[in-house]
């Protein structure tokens, strides 16, 4: 991988750079020719759990998401199983350590078949302000399922954060519907990996764009 500096300057942090490096190191982000579930072809593949279940990955993602939530005034953060699970756990632990504990919740794909038949598990109060997270967004299906579930509980989605945006229409859809969307890593259709513009709350900053 070569780090080359582009005229299109974006402010990125050491942390987001490390997240992208780690995505390659853990095999979470692969380059090649892949057939996606939808049948579309892609020159990259992202397996989020390889990054979010990695010790350093979980730590970095937890901190990054937490920083991106600063100032939003959210009451809770959550998302759809399985992608969101390790992310919200990392955020919960980090938020507690930093003295700004944020409750978390998880949205089931299907309501529980027995007992409570709950669709949402964890700490979500009706009418609260929430953030939705996921490991990757393609067409937006998973994120929209989570959004719909919390909105049915009268909650307001203040922010949506994903680790990787595949730029296959999902993020555009969310933005068009008025959601405040952010991705840590953008994967343009060209296959060029770049760090998306990020806040510089903590850590040193670096201007540049990362190419594969």
């Amino acid at each position: 991988m070569i780090i080359s500096y582009s005229l299109e300057l974006k402010v990125i942090t050491e942390r987001t750079l490390r997240i992208l490096e780690l995505a390659h190191e853990t095999g979470a982000l692969l380059h090649g020719e892949f057939t996606l579930s939808s049948g579309k072809k892609s020159d990259h593949y992202f397996e989020g759990k390889r990054l979010t279940l990695h010790p350093e990955g979980a730590y970095l993602i937890g901190k990054e998401v937490l920083d991106r939530l600063e100032g939003t005034g959210i009451d809770a953060v959550g998302g759809l199983v399985m992608g969101a699970f390790p992310i919200i756990t990392a955020v919960a632990v980090e938020s507690f350590q930093e003295g700004r504990a944020i409750p978390t919740f998880i949205v089931r794909e299907q309501p529980k078949e027995h007992g409570t038949r709950r669709k949402i598990e964890g700490h979500l109060k009706k009418g609260s302000k929430v953030a939705i997270v996921d490991d990757v967004i393609t067409t937006g299906g998973s994120v929209l399922k989570a959004i719909k579930a919390v909105e049915e509980e009268g909650c307001k989605v203040e922010k949506v954060i994903v680790i990787v945006d595949r730029n296959e229409g999902g993020s555009e859809l969310l933005k068009n519907e008025g959601y405040n969307f952010e991705a840590i890593i953008n994967l343009p259709p060209s296959g060029e990996a770049s760090i998306s513009e990020s806040k510089t709350v903590k850590g040193e900053t670096r201007a540049g764009i990362l190419h594969k």
């Binding site: 692969l30 892949f34 057939t35 996606l36 579930s37 939808s38 049948g39 072809k41 397996e47």
Partner: protein, 107 residues
């Protein structure tokens, strides 16, 4: 029995969402058929591949190879069922589909 939707799906290629859809179609056909075995086998083949590929990086060449190896025998089986071939012919073609699948996904 209408095999057109299954035939059309087969021509769309082997990718996870389509494989699950073909599996669903085959299950429905098996339930309405007096000879469900070929549809049951096809259902298991489609869902087996989809499950194997689910949440894995599916390399384009690998997907093409699986499709090349299986699509022809699947088409022949569907043709045979549609043209009311003998039970023996249908069973032979069903075995061919099953053998190809088992060879490709033997590990």
């Amino acid at each position: 029995m209408n095999l057109k939707p299954l035939r059309e799906r087969l021509e769309q290629g082997f990718y996870i969402n389509n494989l699950y859809e073909m599996s669903r179609l085959c299950k429905a056909l098996a339930l309405e058929s007096n000879s469900p075995a070929p549809f049951f086998i096809m259902q298991k083949v489609f869902s087996g591949i989809a499950d194997y590929w689910d949440e894995k990086p599916v390399i384009v060449e690998e997907a093409k190879l699986v499709q090349v190896e299986l699509a022809k025998s699947l088409r022949e089986l569907i043709d045979a069922i549609e043209n009311s071939a003998t039970d023996e012919q249908v069973m032979n073609l069903t075995n061919k589909v099953a053998s190809s699948y088992l060879f490709l996904f033997r590990e």
